[in-house]
């Protein structure tokens, strides 16, 4: 028995040793001396004076993108001596509330939902941004953006990354081969869809499965069409419950989306019929384009990262995106998008320094250079944005004529925006009629 025991201990030690041994290569710990006075640190002078302090950040950004974040503020850390501890979690939205209620809030949180931001602000948990942060944010972002982090006249933080949602992905190669052209209006889009359907290919592919967030890609469709069929003002009323959720205008937008999403002739290329949209994960929903099994896929700019390895994303490449056309060209080109806001649960000076830095043009350029990132920061230099879709997005966001609106489901109370709206769209795809779904969502709006 004693023998068996030691052998077993040996096995455990062996596994451990293996895990440690193979990874224990590389150099030792290189101690970085503070180089606060070196020339490249001149830009960080105004953030200095907090040497040795620590700032914790909590966000939903993880893995490679978290590495890029860490890389983007490395110089800031070296020059100011502030240590930034970032933690990303897939459970961010739910766990942030637990941590805050439990008295264990992070110093900063990147909140992607203005609705959630408002909840913490209303509860008095968030600290209004300091004067420096506010000045920096007002200099670099348009009021369109800043209003989403302003609650009852108090400003709570600047945006960080952004994305543009009003895109339709397609294959320039395929379009050239078949002689199709990029549509400029909704009617052209439908005409093109019919043409493609005539060749025997299902023109559209879509997927709304996304784990515990299943349904959100469909809400983006509705939001985009709300913006196009009504007006930005009506859109704002809709997201703030100024008009009921089952208003005829909303029903109109949903039915319009249904012209494509619930049309068996149009969907779901590469996956099956209409109902397959519900179970197709949004990550793989567009990939049939590269296999020539569908032609069009409506998804945000960040979908650029989802293509199979080796796919060339460019205007003359394997895939690219065009602007989701206007229904009524006379109404201009509204843009739907999203992003996260840098909000603070603490107001220590080093926390404010980090919050201000993240709103700066220096930071935006530092992060953009690393790649796969879009921001509405006006100081962001297009030359620093490597990826062509990101470039297009930055152009759209920086254009002063752009009428920008934030993703509506992120503005609504979470019970609707992250709850019944998502679930309602899933039911809708799964066969429920528009009126029933909208009445259900309306009745769930928190009083």
């Amino acid at each position: 028995m004693a023998f068996a025991r030691s052998r077993q201990a040996l096995a455990v030690a062996g596994v451990l040793g293996l895990a440690l041994g193979v990874t224990a290569c590389g150099t030792g710990n290189d101690k970085k001396s503070s180089k606060a006075s070196s020339p490249e640190c001149a830009a960080y002078e105004k953030y200095q004076g907090h040497d040795g302090k620590k700032v914790t950040i909590y966000s939903s950004i993880r893995d490679i993108e978290a590495d890029r974040l860490a890389q983007s503020w490395k110089e800031f850390e070296n020059c100011t001596g502030i240590k930034i501890d970032h933690e990303g979690s897939g459970e961010f939205e739910a766990q942030l509330g637990v941590r805050v209620d439990g008295g264990n809030a992070p110093d900063l949180a990147f909140i992607p939902q203005p609705g959630l931001l408002k909840r913490f602000a209303d509860a008095g948990k968030l600290k209004p941004a300091g004067a420096d942060t506010k000045a920096m944010a007002e200099g670099n972002y348009s009021p369109d953006w800043l209003k989403y982090s302003t609650v009852d006249g108090k400003f709570y933080g600047a945006p960080l990354g952004s994305n543009v949602k009003s895109y339709v992905w397609y294959s320039p190669k395929m379009f050239k081969e078949k002689g199709w052209t990029v549509p400029e209006t909704w009617d052209d889009l439908i005409k093109l869809s019919d043409t493609i359907a005539g060749t025997g290919m299902k023109p559209w592919c879509a997927g709304i499965e996304s784990g515990d967030a299943t349904g959100w890609p469909a809400t983006d469709w509705i939001e985009d069409l709300m913006l196009r069929m009504t007006s930005p003002e009506v859109y704002d009323q809709w997201t703030t419950h100024g008009i009921p959720f089952n208003d005829p205008q909303v029903a109109g937008a949903v039915d319009k989306a249904g012209m494509i999403l619930k049309n068996e002739k149009y969907v779901n290329g590469g996956f099956g019929g209409v109902k397959s949209i519900a179970t197709t994960s949004f990550q793989e929903a567009g990939t049939p384009i590269t296999a020539g099994k569908c032609a069009l896929h409506r998804q945000a700019s960040f979908y650029a990262n989802q293509w199979p390895q080796g796919t060339k994303v460019a205007e003359d490449g394997d895939v690219f995106a065009f602007y989701f056309p206007a229904v009524d060209p006379a109404k201009g080109k509204p843009v739907l998008g999203g992003g996260e806001f840098v909000t603070a649960f603490a107001d220590r000076p080093e926390v404010q320094a980090v919050q201000t830095y993240l709103a700066s043009g220096e930071y935006a350029n530092s992060r953009a250079k690393i790649g796969d990132w879009v921001s509405a920061n006006k100081k962001l230099d297009l030359a620093n944005v490597p990826n062509p879709v990101d470039k297009l997005s930055v152009q759209i966001l920086q254009d002063p004529k752009t009428v920008f609106r934030f993703d509506g489901s992120d503005l609504m109370p979470a019970a609707v925006g992250a709850g019944t709206f998502w679930k309602g769209m899933v039911d809708w795809i799964n066969g429920k009629d528009t009126a029933t779904v909208l009445n259900g969502i309306e009745s769930s709006w928190p009083k």
Binding site: L20, T27, N29, G97, G272, A278, A414
Partner: protein
């Protein structure tokens, strides 16, 4: 990126502290309980000696000391339970009578919502289906398998395979079942095993998780798949504990395996069987990860724990979430009553 052993040192140090604390607490408690009564015993002996000579009553002081012993045996458990579960349970109950900001009392409004919202009523019925089916099927399977494997060669291997699902984290399990229930269009190659079987038999692929109530049963299959390992391990241990001489005597009497099962095995493992059924029932009432990762409660598959988590943490409705939790407390009452009856019988018997 280098691996730095120095960085790991605090962890081992902390682990060591933890183990030292463990030895100190448990060992200290036992030592204390050993030494103190011994001292009392010596005093009692002395008093006994005196009492024998004087003829005074003896047994009066025995009872309170039993209580004192019990207190020390129970102390750590009670402390942890009060902090970790009793206080939260009380808090949850209070919250269920409050609004979403947990500031104003709203009476029974959250409970009214519970029973008036059709989607929530559906959640409650689903939970009922789960708690009726899972314990029954998982225990039956675990029992049959435990009996079977008891007489089989390669027992360790077979048991390990059944046990395997328990050892897989939910993250892994969610992908495992994705590869079973996944759907692709008819013209596509299937990546889900179930549809592949259907297709190779000449049928059309189906979206398994979409159609209610079939989807609930398919999710229940996952739970049974996991819990059967638990049932099997505990029941197998109980079967092993049946004294060998009883089994041998029965064999010599020439009983059939069927008789053996009903007359020897079943009565002997009854306590373990109850443990398994009760435990799986409670685990099923609280089932959360399976529904969350497979459908997130869409397509009318939601259950109480999943809805509770969504309401309390994702939708910012702690009042409604708490009401669901309290409903869970109520659902367990039948099991508690059964347990009380059992205990009574045991004490009498």
């Amino acid at each position: 990126m280098e691996f730095d052993f120095a960085e790991e040192q605090p962890k081992f140090l902390m682990l060591m502290y933890g183990l030292i604390a463990f030895v100190a607490v448990v060992g200290g408690l036992l030592l204390l309980l050993d030494v103190v009564p011994a001292w009392f015993a010596r005093r009692r002996d002395a008093r006994l000696l005196a009492a024998v000579t004087s003829g005074a009553p003896l047994l009066r002081r025995r009872k309170p000391r039993e209580g004192l012993f019990a207190l020390f045996f129970l102390l750590p458990t009670l402390l942890f339970l009060v902090v970790g579960l009793v206080v939260p349970a009380i808090r949850t109950t209070l919250l269920s009578f409050m609004d979403k900001d947990s500031t104003n009392w709203v009476g029974l409004r959250n409970y009214g919502w519970l029973f008036s919202e059709p989607s929530i009523v559906r959640v409650l019925t689903n939970t009922l289906i789960w708690v009726l089916l899972v314990p029954l099927v998982a225990t039956a399977f675990g029992l049959i398998y435990a009996v079977l494997v008891d007489r089989a060669r390669l027992e360790a291997l077979a048991k390990s395979l059944i046990f395997l699902p328990m050892a897989i984290s939910f993250v892994g399990a969610s992908i495992i079942w994705k590869f079973v229930y996944a759907y692709r269009g008819e013209d596509q190659e299937q990546i889900g095993l179930l549809n592949q079987i259907v297709v190779s038999l000449g049928g059309a692929p189906k979206q398994w998780l979409l159609d209610s109530p079939l989807n609930t049963f398919l999710l229940i299959v996952i739970m049974v798949w996991i819990q059967a390992g638990f049932a099997m391990v505990v029941l197998s241990a109980a079967i092993k504990a049946i004294p060998a001489d009883i089994v041998e005597a029965a064999r010599l009497d020439g009983v059939t395996p069927w008789q053996m099962f009903w007359q020897i095995t079943m009565p002997s493992i009854r306590p373990a069987l109850i443990v398994v059924v009760v435990t799986i029932s409670i685990a099923t009432l609280k089932v959360f990860d399976i529904v969350r990762t497979a459908t997130n409660g869409n397509y009318e598959t939601s259950v109480i724990a999943n809805e509770m988590y969504n309401q309390a943490f994702r939708y910012g409705q702690p009042g409604q979430g708490s009401a669901l939790a309290v409903f869970l407390f109520i659902l367990v009452i039948p099991i508690v009553i059964y347990q009380i009856r059992n205990l009574r019988q045991q004490r009498e018997g």
